[in-house]
């Protein structure tokens, strides 16, 4: 297998790798962003839980 030839894609390297690179890159980025979103949701709680507690407290009063 000639790798240089493979990567050249018969002269269409820019178009072929531009397509697959961007597509797979964006998909990877989406997964990464979702992980960050989850992390930030998980970090938010302290306040939220306290708020809920305060509200419960208020309603009991």
């Amino acid at each position: 297998m000639n790798w240089a030839r493979f990567f050249d894609m018969g002269g269409y390297a820019f178009y072929v790798w531009g397509s697959f690179g961007v597509a797979l890159g964006l998909m990877g980025a989406e997964v990464l962003l979702l992980r960050l979103r989850r992390k930030s949701v998980m970090l938010r709680p302290v306040k939220q839980v306290d708020k809920v507690k305060v509200e419960e407290h208020e309603t009991t009063i």
Binding site: F6, M9, G10, G11, Y12, F14, Y15, V16, G18, S19, F20, V22, A23, L26, M27, E30, V31, L34, R35, R37, R38, V41, M42, R44, P45, V46, Q48, V49, V52, E55
Partner: protein
């Protein structure tokens, strides 16, 4: 706290769907990786060079699956949004919101790869033909749905507005699909049609279908990941969420 949610089946409530989705994610993620590797391997190393387009034709293995996903996901989003609207069930609406960004992503990928394929084959990045234009409209419908949801603060009201847009916009999907038959387009006709013998070689078809399956698995994986975030964000006042988040602190 009164729950307005009617339990049609157990898993239509966010509280019971959340852990189920969490259990499913690793399986769909694994399937995505395996299918993606198989599809790329067959597409790049097993499938032969096209006699007319040379190696450039290999763009088909990402272009066609993403274009299919763009349409499928839109219909699925409209379906879930419609269910959420009809039954006033939060989880279905959350599913619609979770699908939208991924649908928009695939629409973008199909437009992007289409441009990169069009340039060497047609000599132009873009042309205002029926297929390309209706796909661009699909992209704007996704963006419209997303921005509508982000500007309306009340989540349930945002769900209803989004559902209306999604359902009305669904008429665009058959237009995209049949555009190559209804109008004289620069875009080629379908290579694979239901009930028809595909006009491409079996090994190429195999790579295409495996890549499509990979894109499906990917879509399910990220949709489940996103819907879990949405559930936690929206239901943050529900006792079970407070409890869950309290634990992970």
């Amino acid at each position: 706290m009164a729950r307005r949610n009617i339990n049609w089946f157990k898993y239509t409530s966010p509280a019971s769907f959340y852990p189920l989705a969490g259990k499913m994610i690793p399986w769909f993620a694994a399937a995505t990786v395996l299918l993606l590797m198989a599809g790329l391997y067959i597409g790049f190393f097993v499938a032969p060079t096209d006699y007319k387009q040379g190696e450039a034709y290999r763009i088909i293995y990402i272009h066609v699956p993403s274009a299919w996903m763009a349409m499928f996901l839109y219909l699925l989003m409209a379906f879930y949004a419609g269910l959420g609207l009809a039954f006033n069930a939060r989880l279905w609406s959350m599913m619609a919101s979770a699908i939208a960004p991924t649908g928009a992503l695939f629409t973008f990928i199909s437009l992007w790869t289409g441009a990169l394929w069009g340039k060497p084959m047609w000599g132009t990045w873009w042309v205002w033909d029926a297929r390309l234009t209706s796909t661009l409209i699909l992209f704007f419908l996704y963006l419209g749905f997303l921005s509508l949801q982000s500007v309306i603060e009340d989540a349930r009201r945002a769900d209803r507005a989004g559902a209306l847009l999604a359902l009305v916009g669904a008429v665009n999907v058959p237009i995209i699909y049949f555009s190559v038959q209804w109008w004289n387009t620069l875009h080629q006709g379908a290579s694979i049609r239901l009930g028809d013998t595909p006009s491409i070689a079996p090994v190429m078809l195999a790579a295409l279908l495996i890549m499509t399956a990979a894109c499906w698995m990917y879509s399910i994986t990220v949709t489940l990941m996103r819907v879990r975030c949405i559930i936690l964000e929206r239901e943050s006042r529900a006792p079970w969420v407070a409890e869950l988040l309290g634990e992970t602190k």
